[in-house]
Amino acid sequence: AAGVIQSPRHLIKEKRETATLKCYPIPRHDTVYWYQQGPGQDPQFLISFYEKMQSDKGSIPDRFSAQQFSDYHSELNMSSLELGDSALYFCASSRQGDSEQYFGPGTRLTVT
């Protein structure tokens, strides 16, 4: 069965640079969630989209923005990167009315 696809899988950036993470949800899933997991921590919700509209917002820094496109893929844009942004970024998708979220493999971002 098709799973959530995230790209790139690994990304190394320097401080103050920008990064774009991409997420391709499972086919026919209309909701996308972004989570950030720091080293040794639990995942923290950043933002979610339903039918291309932002549906909920968590602890997402103002330096970050995201959107969902007409084909339901989503991109997380991160600017003015800081060392503390180094983390594993997960995308998850679900279908309207279904509580189960299916996670992608994550993008490991390292900021040096």
């Binding site: 909701t31 969630y33 989570y35 997991q37 921590q41 639990d42 995942p43 923290q44 919700f45 979610s48 339903y50 549906s55 909920d56 968590g58 594993l88 997960f90 998850a92 679900s94 309207q96 009315g97 509580s99 189960e100 979220q101 299916y102 996670f103 493999p105 994550g106 490991r108």
Partner: protein, 115 residues
Amino acid sequence: AQTVTQSQPEMSVQEAETVTLSCTYDTSESDYYLFWYKQPPSRQMILVIRQEAYKQQNATENRFSVNFQKAAKSFSLKISDSQLGDAAMYFCAYAYGGSQGNLIFGKGTKLSVKP
């Protein structure tokens, strides 16, 4: 605000034996879902089991079962016949039952399985 608490940072179990991971949560909502996710060293988040708050019957998935005590706001995971592949970090998570509810995770319990 909703919170999820896992009071056991680490647990250990002998292969083929049974282990129970604890989780408590706090919410004022009546409609919500609870989950256990497994995160092996690969860091992939794998859904283990799901429980709807409106269901009294405890969810079961093969060797995994939960003990859902709604009044006590407790949601423990029992792993029977533990296998080496069960070794992982286990996260308890809560989601509000409304549409597109995001997950709130506990701090996790690291489970080791001894051969």
